[in-house]
Symmetry: C2
Subunit: 390 residues, 2 copies
């Protein structure tokens, strides 16, 4: 096990009827908030009105900043920063999924500095201060509600970059599984894929071979996300399934899984970010198109971990007679079949991206490869992986 | 899944060479500390001198309060409170295992109030304020380093009582597995038993049948603690084994396992506390004497969960043909055999406690049964369980 610091200051309020706590939790941070939300679903479901009522009831003034896109864009972040400054807000409230929360984080960091917020993402400036942030989560997926990361797309440069800082943890996040009953099947599936991808990235890129505590937790989370997603697609109002999916997705990327693994990489996300930046595909859909190809490529070089995952999660009779390579290939098949079952695209073709674009995607991905210091990835290697994703 | 609040403010610094951080971490809380420690081992190993040097280097004045016993006693807590008041300390530093940290917590809560500290344990007063606490952990066992609970023994009334409060979380806890290389085999085993017992209590007394996320985490932790304990006994300086045992024991009782289960009980601890209070046996040794009997008793009434644990953790060919009762009995046997292998007493007899004492132990346990509201436990039932522990 490698050395680690584990420190999650976020308070999670999980369960039924927890949304009305957003008012008091926010009021404890300040009296005027920027309310950040998306493009319709939280308004249609009535959630946004419940949040507004709770904030007003707690005496919190509201400045509205709606219209956040999936794959949130820098120009909209800058608008939010302008609003936050203009009205002198002292707390940010996010109502949404990872996109909304990430934009809210970017605003919370960007509105307290003179320079442009994008400099945090390119590594030219580091975050020293943020406004406090509270959230009401509407999608089990990204884990942003309980972590210190954020991802924003710069539409001018076509770069989707992420960064992290201890100050970006939300103060309080409210996780009511019932809020996600209205999430449609496609986004339910994409969210599950995102959560599985987070765990897979850690599981495959760990720097330490001796982390049984983390391994068992990660295997359990993958199993839970897959089972819970199946339950939610069979019955969107299955509270237990929604709760399991929500809490698993949060734990998948809150530090618990990665603590002790050493410096882990996010190569599948690196490639997916280029798909989102170039084609604006939903993040989870892009991930399910990348995962089989990347795992196939990785499994040919280092099959042991993928084979171990198969032994733990997908055992079958006479498993002992199979080689690591065979078990690795089997894992890829099982995941690809699961993507098929939940209707998440399992290839570039299913995403509608032509193979002739592969060189351009690889070129784009190299930008993030450099920033994330994934030094083993060259344009040739990324093209090789993308060819396996066709 | 039941509603829950999850909020662990403790910062964990885990790994090699983390002990020198105790100075700066403590200095961030105050300039004069009460240094709380046990009866020799941390002094003999040189750890205490390293802590003193780090504190002094960070400019923190030290008031010494050594001599904490395993099963820490109220009279010694009161002495610590007196010292803390007399010298006006503003932070408490604990160097030790669960006993030392629990006593430090009791002092941190008791030294800021006028009334006697025992009132917190009998429920007649509630904690509203504490001094900040930092810790250096020396034993993988209790989980106190990252939770909000504490247990103290009142030697006058022969009561071993526990209580909890959000303000009791340590600010920072330092977990260096190398510090535990010198823990002797018996206490290594007792610590592992304690960690397994914590998870078993939650696993068996959950109020919710649909908590797959928590179930997978709990099963993984039990597996890890058992494997890691075996590794540490085979080689006390096996870093990976010590690290796995330490982090598993912390996660076993930091809220992660219990969040979502509803109101869980601690019936095995309730009975063990009487063994410690009456005979001053090490907590883990008392637990391994209670676990087989309680599980046997519980398994006769409700075998499904124990059988499920067997299916997950201890699978064997033709398992499907066995009844829940058979699998429950098998789980008890496997745990009893493990206690035998690690030399932790698996019965009252092995603890040297005569069966004629059973009525008195049951009478004593009823005190805690009332405070913890374990209402289904009568003296007759506790005697019945204790007879199965003989």
């Amino acid at each position: 096990m490698q050395n680690f610091v584990f420190h999650i200051p976020t308070k999670i309020l999980f369960g039924r009827n927890t949304v009305p706590a957003i008012g008091p939790e926010t009021a404890a941070c300040g009296g005027r908030c920027l309310l950040v939300y998306g493009r319709g679903s939280s308004s249609r479901s009535g959630l946004l009105d419940r949040v507004r009522a709770s904030l007003a009831g707690a005496g919190v003034e509201i400045v509205e900043h709606g219209g956040v896109r999936s794959n949130p864009v820098l120009s909209h972040v800058r608008q939010g920063i302008g609003l936050a400054r203009q009205h002198g807000v002292d707390v940010i409230v996010a109502v949404g999924g990872g996109s909304v929360i990430d934009e809210a984080k970017a605003i919370s960091a960007g509105c307290v500095v003179e320079h442009d917020v994008w400099k945090f993402f390119t590594g030219r400036k580091s975050i020293k201060k943020t406004l406090p942030l509270t959230t009401v989560l509407t999608l089990a997926a990204a884990g942003s509600e309980m972590n210190s990361g954020m991802v924003i797309t710069n539409e001018e440069t076509r770069e989707k970059f992420g960064t992290g800082n201890q100050l970006l943890y939300p103060r309080t996040s409210i996780l009511d599984p019932e809020v996600t009953f209205t999430v449609p099947p496609d986004y339910t599936a994409y969210g599950a894929v995102d959560a599985v991808a987070h765990v897979l990235e850690f599981y495959m890129t760990t720097q330490d071979p001796d982390t049984p505590v983390q391994d068992r937790i990660m295997e359990g989370l993958i199993e839970n996300v897959m089972e819970a997603c199946d339950r939610c697609l069979a019955d969107p109002c299955d509270y237990g399934g929604r709760a399991s999916l929500m809490w698993s997705a949060t734990l998948a990327l809150n530090g618990l899984t990665a603590a002790g693994l050493g410096r882990v990489g996010f190569p599948m996300h690196m490639i997916e970010h280029s798909l989102s930046a170039l084609y604006d595909v939903p993040h989870g859909a892009g991930l399910s198109a990348v995962i089989p190809g990347w795992l196939t490529w990785h499994g040919r070089r280092a099959p042991a971990r993928i084979a171990g995952l198969c032994r733990r999660l997908f055992p079958f009779p006479d498993m002992e007679r199979c080689s690591d390579r065979e078990l690795a290939a089997r894992t890829v098949t099982i995941l690809r079949n699961w993507f098929g079952r939940i209707n998440s695209p399992a290839s570039l073709q299913e995403l509608g991206i032509p193979a002739t674009d592969i060189p351009e995607i690889a070129r784009n991905a190299m930008g993030l490869a450099k920033i994330w210091r994934l030094n083993e990835y060259t344009p040739e290697i990324i093209e090789e992986i993308l060819c396996l994703c066709r």
